[in-house]
Each structure stands twice: as C-alpha cells, then as structure tokens.
C-alpha cells in the first residue's frame, strides 16, 4: 500500500492529517501490518490533553498490546467511536475509516517537524 503523500508521520508510526485548525490522527498501514489483526482500540475522551511522545491510548491485536504515542501536543476534540465496534477498520482502512482522534494542536508548527511521506517510507522500507 502506498503511503499517502498529504500526511505527516511520526517515528512511532502515527499519521497526522491537517484539517484547517485541527489535526486528525491514526496509525499507519505499516503499523497495522506489524501488529496483526486488531481486536480492541482504547482511545482518550473528548477534552483530554495529549502530550507529544506520550501514550494517548492503545491498540490490542491478537498477539500483543501496543501503546499509541501522540505525535504532537494538543486537546482531543473528536474520537472515532466506530472503532469500539469495528476495530478491524484499523487493518482494513488505516488512513480513512480508522482515524482515531481529532485534536486541536497546541502548536501547529510541531506538525511541520514530523516526517514527510518520503521520509517515512525511507524509515520503514525493506528494500
């Protein structure tokens, strides 16, 4: 699967999509393929503060549990409730249906410091 060009990426395999003043966050195709079948997604509540490089939730796959690391600082304004009932969206549609949270960034310039699609591809490529 190709890596969407219009998103930014963190070293912990989260993607960030800028939408006006807000930022939508999820995990990458690469991350979901490393984790295997996702069976549960634990997300913060609306209003929660997320801190860059600190966990804001977790994803549980058939064999593991793995923390979700915030790519930026911000306040959660929306949470994807669909993942409660359909955690498999993370495997099927990591960049679309399985967005996890929308935040109001504390400092939008932090997003600029994240990796571009090319840089993320470089980091995860096997050949």
């Amino acid at each position: 699967m190709s890596i969407p060009k219009d998103l930014r990426y963190s070293g912990e395999h989260e993607w960030v999509k800028v939408e006006g003043e807000k930022a939508r966050i999820g995990i990458t195709h690469f991350a979901q393929s490393e984790l295997g079948d996702i069976v549960f997604v634990e997300l913060p509540e609306v209003g929660a503060e997320i801190k860059a490089d600190e966990p804001f939730g977790s994803v549980e796959s058939v064999k593991t549990v793995s923390e979700l690391y915030a790519p930026i600082n911000g306040t959660v304004v929306e949470v994807n409730e669909d993942l409660d009932d359909s955690p498999e969206f993370v495997n099927e549609s990591p960049y679309e249906k399985a967005w996890m949270i929308v935040v109001e960034p504390s400092d939008a310039s932090e997003i600029e410091k994240l990796m571009t699609a090319e840089q993320y591809e470089e980091m995860t490529q096997e050949d």
Binding site: H13, E34, D37, V62, V65, D84, E126
Partner: protein, 298 residues
C-alpha cells in the same frame, strides 16, 4: 458496550513496543533478499521487535514456508508444500554468518510429504552453519518428523548443541491443539534423541492458557523428566489470528514464576517461564558448558 465485555482484554504485561529500527528493517531485507523464512514473522511472534531490533537474533524456518499440518494454535501457512530447495542450507548458513549469530535456532515446517521428513536438508543446514560459523551454537527445533527415528538420527548425527522438540500442550488438550502429532510420540521423540546423543541437552516447550489445569502442567513436567528432557520453556498462548483457538486464560507473571520454581525443584537443568516466553526465547543462555566454550570463541 456489551461487545467490549465479551472480549478478554490482554493484561498490561503483554504490552510490547514496535521497534522498527535499522536492525529490524535490515534483517527483514536480509530475509527477503535470500528468500529465507523465520518463525518470528510467520508465527507473528510478539517478541520480534525485541529479538530483531535489540537482540539481533532470529529463528530460521526451513523446508519452505508451507506446512503439511494445520495445528490450531499455529499461524504458519498450511497447504501443499513447495519443492525442496537444495540451496537453502547454504543461504541460511550465509545469513547466520552475516548476522554474526552467537546462537542459531533452526526450525522447519513439518514435511509429511517427504520420505525423510526433510531431515536431509535439515542436517545439511546444520553442517553448513558449522562450516561457516564454527563457534556459533546451533539449536534444532524439528517436528516429530512423522515419528521416523531414522530421520531423527540423521539430524542428531550432526551434533547440534540443543535438540528442541515441543510437546506444545498438556496431554488432554493435544488432539484439539495439534494436528497429527501425539503427546506420546513427542515424548518418545525426545527420549530417543537423548539415547542417540546423551550429552546433547534436550528441550521442550508448552503454551499455557488453552484451558489446562495446573495439575496437568505439572504432569507435563513429570512426563518430560521421565523422558530425560533437560530444559523446559513455558509461555502464554496467544491467538495468532481470529480463526485460531481462543485464549482461555492469561496467566499472571507470578504464576509463571511459581511454575518455573516447581520445574526447577523437579529437576530440570533450566526452565524459562513467562508470559512472552517462546520456544527459543533467550535460547542462547541455555546451552551446556561444552557449548558455552564454543560460544566464547565466537
């Protein structure tokens, strides 16, 4: 909300970190370029990020990537096997040398389609590693090779540093968990390996969390010891995909510690037990004194 409650949540102690540093991507590249398979990837092992990125170890899986058996705990692909690859031993040996492994673990899919169960290529792989990396210790982890002891002898004649064969689960659950393999045949396989080469440590592992009782786990310990097995590993069963057997229980690390203590009291020379312990986890530490001398020169 009811849906959430149906699902047995994984406990905190099964948390892992995706570590995809350059060691990790480098090993992936090495495996793809050399057309090699690892049980780490095929079994979706939760330790892969620790082993590949930090410890730089891997367990090679030879004789192809398709298994002739379909055990209900195992994620390895099942179906019609591929043709045997006569170059595989050399490629595995080259990779062991390139990775500069102190301890190499070699497992294989079950090749019930082959008269020798794949023993010939398995043995050649051990010899090729010895030639190219004389100081690397080698652990072999075969299936029961169809219960053919000539095949086992072919493998034991190569003098691996550890013979590992997994009994996988307690006696009662064996028919439900394993395909074709039987509990007693695995015990016999282990006993015969020891008879063939008495100074080579033998090892066997079980997965727990499939619905067994503590008494049944202790019975496995007694059965393994009665068949002269030296090393035991006990780990938490984890369901590799939704189609596989469900986890019945997540054991607490304290329960693993207690099982380890019981195993050691009963007389195993080594027991590795813990939620994320797998058959070859920390295997490099389990070789005997003679083999340690070899490692020391590596």
């Amino acid at each position: 909300m009811a849906k959430k409650d149906e699902h047995l949540r994984k406990p905190e102690w099964l948390k892992i970190k995706l570590n995809t540093n350059e060691n990790y991507t480098g090993l992936k590249k090495l495996m793809r370029e050399n057309n090699l398979h690892t049980v780490c990837e095929e079994a979706k092992c939760p330790n892969i990020h620790e082993c590949w990125a930090v410890r730089r170890t891997a367990t090679f899986m030879i004789l192809g990537s398709v298994c002739t058996r379909a055990c209900r705990f195992c994620a390895v692909k099942t179906g019609l096997p591929t043709e045997l690859d006569l170059q595989e031993p050399e490629r595995v040996a080259d990779s062991v040398a390139l990775m500069n492994l102190k301890h190499a673990v070699i497992t294989a899919v079950a090749r019930d389609d082959q008269k020798d169960g794949g023993a010939g290529i398995f043995a050649e792989t051990v010899r090729a590693i010895r030639r190219k990396s004389p100081f690397t210790t080698i652990e072999v982890l075969p299936s029961d090779m169809g219960g053919n002891y000539d095949n086992l002898k072919t493998l034991m004649d190569t003098r691996p540093d550890i013979l590992n064969h997994n009994i996988e689960t307690v006696r009662r659950l064996t028919p439900r968990v394993r395909a074709r393999a039987t509990y007693d045949r695995s015990l016999e396989f282990l006993r015969r390996a020891k008879e063939m080469q008495p100074d080579i440590p033998t090892k066997s592992s079980i997965m727990i969390g499939l619905g067994e009782t503590k008494e049944e786990i202790i019975e496995v310990m007694d059965d393994l010891l009665a068949n002269n097995v030296d090393i035991m590993a006990i780990g938490q069963y984890l369901q590799p995909t939704k189609k596989h057997l469900k986890v019945q229980k997540y054991y607490h690390p304290d329960e693993f510690a207690e099982l380890k203590e019981i195993a050691m009291q009963k007389g195993f020379s080594h027991c590795e037990a813990g939620p994320l312990v797998r058959s070859s986890y920390h295997a490099d530490e389990q070789v005997n004194e003679a083999s340690k001398k070899r490692q020391a020169q590596a």
